[in-house]
Symmetry: C2
């Protein structure tokens, strides 16, 4: 066992020395996988000129059963220092060059040392991992230029990238420069001017049919929408209210006459409108709204009425400017209720005066989005022609009879809502853009800001080089890439939609909106804290993003409600049987579906911890699928048990509500990752594939970590695997550290706007 | 096995029927512990007039080995319905009364049914648990009056309760009514008026010595401080800057001459001051600040200077009004640096004009706290008499020589900072008060707001009755009780402090400040979301609390830095050896200390899931202690391994930074729970003890759940126990649901201020 005792330099056989820097860096880290050792073993065995004695010694050192002692490692380090070779981080392969220099100095006998760059490329060890080991602190490189931000953005955003760049000229205009806004009236005026400008450029109508001034291009519309967050959340929301909610309701719920009369004008902002659905007492439970639209056959009119003082429309964006509202009301024809329908109701005349019977109140100041004029609206017996009924899913004929192709009023209601799901995708996208902006600012700041040091060093560390800071920001950068893919795919599905059952799309969008808006707020908050007091100043933008995006978790559907919608979607087959007695049939079905995934987990798998396995998309996908399937199955079992005991369905539902929410989240994470993998599989060059795979692995492992206790409970992971996954998360953040600047460039945030942020601008 | 088949009512022996409602409620729930079954067994066996046949049947039904079938349970429910007995929630013991009525209707033979109220009292089952089971939905009680809010407040706040109430007259004044503030100048003027009023009342000086106009009562000062958050975070911070930071620095770092000259005036606000420590380039790393104070012997002056443009003081509260600043600077005497010292530097003359050599700039708008005038300050060769040096820990004698009792400049610096730790406790308390206010508003709203229903019921459910809503709010109410106890105890320790080593106190306070300000922001955010769009309106206060408390995670020490400080405190013994070779000695020490707690966990314990065990403080304490001890031990091992391999200490530290943070959190949670238990043990009446125990159990189990994956990795919990703990968290929230209104009253938030919040006021 001579190999494992300490020797002085002269005792190591020729050929050994050049390997010492690598060996030292690798063994000083905790994380050595079989594949990493294999990379080194290959390098050693393929080093043809390596003397046999050196080869034997080196191979012994990389045998995990007989690791070199701490004393041996310490000795290596002393040898490296004695060699006088200097570590220069500015070179392309600093560790290989150091090795070469050490070899030359300590082992002149060998001549030219082997080229070890292949090791540096394949091991994924980064300078920030070992920089301090060699006490070489001056001018470390703050980022790598290995990846080009523009190429990343193209992979990340696909077709939308060109939409992003087409907006660049916008940000150069005075009215599209960011500025602090504290007075809501001034802020609203500014936002209105901005929206008008966007309408003039044709951006508002992008999603509309060509006959209505549009290009039938919802994905591009959504790209514009998310871009506006980079400037101001209020602008984004106001834009969405006018063109998405108001215009969208006309397009999707109306018929040709409505589109002809109003849609073009909505798109040009000639007709400012609002979307009046929510009421003070009915937010999440829209089906229960109280506003009525009663049909009068003699005049062929609808009478719109707010019955009680708290039955007013609430929080309606654009309420203080709109000339028309899409009002959701209980339709009553011939004394019979037909459920919620939408009616176009004029609110103001051409001069902006509120019309008789209508009362509007400002909702006042909010945490954020104060550039949006949210208000309350009451209707007192307001009459409109029956033609104003948006009648795609239900109308009133010349005889004054109600008719609809959808006989079931519930089904009709949900079909109507279903057509508006595009807006929910946009909300997710807007929130995600906010997260990207905040993370982008935090990363740029972290690449400039230095704090602390140890006395020996020339300058303090960049805060980006603290592991805690990396863990804060880098997994969230990765998640932005994943979630963008998920939303873009849903948007594509929505665009391709031609009638039919939208239930699956709705359930998936509901879940994604919930997890992504939650994620966005968390990411923005982390970014704020990562910038310390600087992040708290309005001039640095993160504070406003925090305040604006906050409500994205609530509007267009409260996240708690949406997660349950997602879970119910996952239980579709099951749902119809919810109140029936055939639970056993349902369970048999679920069991069959689930059998493949729910079979007992192989004990080897439970503690499989090698890097290959943990980085493999198949592992991540299996973990996500397993969680969804298992939660579905156990949820069904629990409900069955309650029902069997005679518990009313509603009570059974309350008892499993937390389980429902967990399933909604799990299902949404699963489909998000699947979308992302499809993007990865579309990337053809290895260089970018490697990066995107790593981002996906980091995201997936971090998500699995968040539910690790559950995976333990199911026996899906064991102690070793759990620890290995967490170490891999830390390791992946380190591996991605050099590329953070490029990853942020990949978000394609307008540089013009970034330069307006004091802590993020170039100095 | 006759007992376990379905029978019709006439087949059950007399005496059985009155028990059916209880049995049905209990078995329809998943959660039956041995002790609960024992409660029922006792009731049955002590029912002396119960016929033998009925007793046998009933005892069979509560045998967990032979549970009644689902069909049997369903049959019970049908019998209850058939009985025609009605469930009336407004009575004191609705379930017992229902049982009695069922007994009378179905079992007239028996005569008076047994009194089962003892069951209802001991099982901890709440109406909201089973209300729907009996399809009785009208007028459910929204809360219980079993606990009196005032008594809870007295237990919760101790002596401070009277301070809270002494402020009541304040909130009735016009200048102390809440109002929306959007303009920073107006907001600052208002806050300045408020602070002046508080100074006139003597609140500012409360903590100062009696000779300086105070009462030497820091705990009461802190109670005032936290109360101010109920009105306005800006007021609280501005108050703290003047009396705590500025006045406190004079009191703690100065000598008698400084106290005489300035402290009284600071307390009356005759001398507005600020605390100028942070610099733009040095926030967390204060020891590295660049401002200099150079001693000139000829004039016996100190020259205060800002060397570079970014070396200015930054984010200094009160900077735009202060007439004097406590400036932290590198003291240079005779060309030699003596580290950071504090110097009193006049900033403005009596008329408010900035003095020569001084430049002040407004920091501008922030996310919150815009009523506080934060600014930047530059000094250009500003001369002050040497007497202005706050010289408690280091002074300059008549010969111009520097002298200090503390020879080590690091030690001196940390001793100086240590005396200011009271402010850090206050920051934790202020944040916690913000959390209470937000939770209080959310709870009051949830006890009024109804949403959704199922078609059968009379009215929609209160949102407080949704399990997801309970899980959102109730564990956080419990945590407020726990953390208040922790901060109050530290404040008491601080008040009792008479010199000596403050290191332990500092480490504990650092950790508590970090976990509690993090908790507070999380709680406020949950409260915002729990109120939906209403929570987003400024008029409902939560939004401002969110914005104001946000920065509490950063100021008076960034939480990431503070958690590491806490962890280092836990490693005290270890720390001195950090750079030495005697790691083995340290490890031996740690191992001995830890042996008691780190012994292999008994397999029975790992899956002990009964209610008694899970509710027992000893279990919680053991879990917290185990985590801290284990994290300490493994951290020490990891560092030792790195050092043995020759890694520089700083690099080793970077590699274990995440571990450090985890230890800091664990240690802080452990001491918080210990403080809380001491409060519980001081409560003598059983009624309140039971409640406080339950709050502690909920908090502890929720915290353990948050780290469940780690407990799994250590083999500390098994699958069954993990699931049981989570179910207990859900169950405890249900048990505490009836008392939420009282729990909020226990926070003693001024009712005057609550009534100013539209969604929280009585209607």
């Amino acid at each position: 066992m001579l190999y494992f005792t300490v020797m002085n330099s002269s005792q190591y056989p020729s050929g050994t020395h050049a390997y010492l820097p690598f060996l030292y860096v690798i063994w000083s880290d905790d994380l050595l996988s079989a594949s990493e050792l294999e990379v080194i073993r290959l390098a050693i065995t393929s080093d043809k000129e390596l003397p046999a004695a050196a080869r034997k010694l080196l191979l012994g050192w990389i045998n995990p059963d007989t690791p070199p002692s701490a004393a041996t490692q310490k000795h290596w380090r002393e040898l490296i220092r004695e060699s006088g070779a200097s570590y220069r981080e500015e070179t392309a392969y600093p560790l290989s060059e150091l090795s070469s220099a050490v070899g030359k100095a300590l082992d002149p006998e060998r001549g030219t040392p082997p080229d070890l760059t292949v090791l540096e490329q394949n091991l994924g060890i980064q300078p920030n991992h070992y920089r301090h080991v060699f006490e070489q602190y001056s001018a470390p490189r703050s980022f790598s230029e290995y990846y080009d931000g523009t190429l990343l953005a193209q992979h990340h955003l696909g077709k939308a990238y060109s939409v992003y760049r087409s907006l660049d000229s916008l940000w150069e205009q005075k009215d599209f420069r960011w500025e602090i806004q504290r007075n809501k009236e001034q802020h609203r005026q500014r936002v209105s001017r901005q929206v008008k400008h966007l309408a003039n450029k044709g951006y508002g109508a992008l999603a509309y049919p060509e006959g209505s001034g549009g290009k039938n291009d919802m994905p591009s519309y959504a790209a514009v929408f998310e871009n506006l967050v980079f400037l101001d959340g209020s602008l984004c929301v106001k834009f969405g209210v006018q063109f998405g909610l108001f215009g969208g309701s006309i397009e999707k719920l109306g018929s040709e006459k409505h589109r002809k009369a109003y849609l073009g004008k909505a798109g040009t902002l000639e007709l400012p409108g609002c979307f009046a659905m929510t009421e003070t007492r009915h937010g999440s439970n829209v089906r229960g709204i109280h506003t009525t639209a009663t049909y009068l056959h003699e005049s062929r009119e609808l009478v719109i009425n707010t019955p009680g003082p708290d039955d007013n429309k609430e929080y309606i964006g654009n309420a203080l400017e709109a000339r028309m509202a899409t009002v959701f009301a209980q339709l009553i024809v011939g004394g019979k209720r037909h459920g919620v329908h939408a009616v176009l109701v004029p609110l103001r005349d051409a001069s902006g005066e509120v019309l008789p019977g209508i009362r509007v109140e400002d909702n006042g100041y909010k945490l954020g989005l104060n550039g949006v004029d949210n208000g309350k609206i009451w209707f007192r017996e307001v009459r409109v022609p029956v033609d104003n009924l948006l009648d795609r899913y239900g109308g009133i004929n010349a005889e004054g009879e109600y008719s609809s192709e959808l006989k079931n009023s519930n089904k009709r209601f949900f079909t109507m809502l279903g057509t508006l799901v595009g807006g929910r995708i946009c909300v997710g996208k807007g929130a995600l853009a906010g997260a990207k902006m905040a993370l982008g600012i935090a990363v740029r700041y972290a690449l400039r800001r230095r704090q602390f040091n140890d006395s020996k060093r020339m300058q303090e560390d960049l805060i980006m080089d603290y592991p805690s800071h990396q863990l804060r920001l880098i997994p969230r950068l990765a998640s932005c890439y994943v979630y963008q893919a998920a939303l873009d795919e849903q948007m594509e599905n929505y665009q391709q939609l031609t009638g039919g059952d939208t239930q699956k799309l709705e359930a998936q969008v509901a879940g994604l909106k919930a997890i992504i808006t939650d994620f966005a707020n968390d990411a923005i908050q982390e970014s704020r804290e990562a910038c310390g007091g600087k992040g708290y100043l309005l001039e640095n933008r993160i504070a406003d993003l925090r305040s604006d995006i906050d409500i994205f978790t609530t509007f267009e559907g409260d996240n708690t409600v949406l997660l349950q919608l997602a879970a119910k979607g996952r239980l579709t087959d099951f749902r119809t049987a919810f109140n029936s007695d055939d639970f056993f049939g349902v369970l048999r079905l679920l069991r069959t579906q689930a059998a493949r995934r729910l079979g007992a987990i192989n004990p080897v798998y439970v503690n499989k911890t090698d890097r290959e396995h943990l980085y493999k998309p198949a592992f991540h996908q299996h973990a996500f699928e397993y969680r969804t399937a298992r939660l579905t199955y156990t949820l069904a079992l629990r409900i069955r048990d309650y029902i069997k005991k005679g518990l009313p369905a509603y009570q059974a539902y309350l008892k499993v509500q937390a389980h429902f929410l967990a399933l909604g989240r799990a299902y949404s994470e699963e489909i998000a990752y699947q979308s992302y993998r499809r993007v990865c599989e579309g990337i053809t060059d290895e260089k970018h594939q490697a990066l995107f795979d790593r981002l996906g692995a980091l995201h997936a492992l971090e998500r699995i970590t968040a539910d690790m206790d559950w995976y333990f409970e199911q026996g899906y992971v064991g102690k070793r695997k759990s620890k290995a996954i967490k170490r891999r998360v830390e390791r992946l953040t380190t591996e991605l550290r050099p590329h953070v600047a490029s990853l942020v460039e990949g978000f394609a945030i307008p540089e013009e706007l970034m330069q307006q942020v004091p802590i993020a601008r170039d100095h």
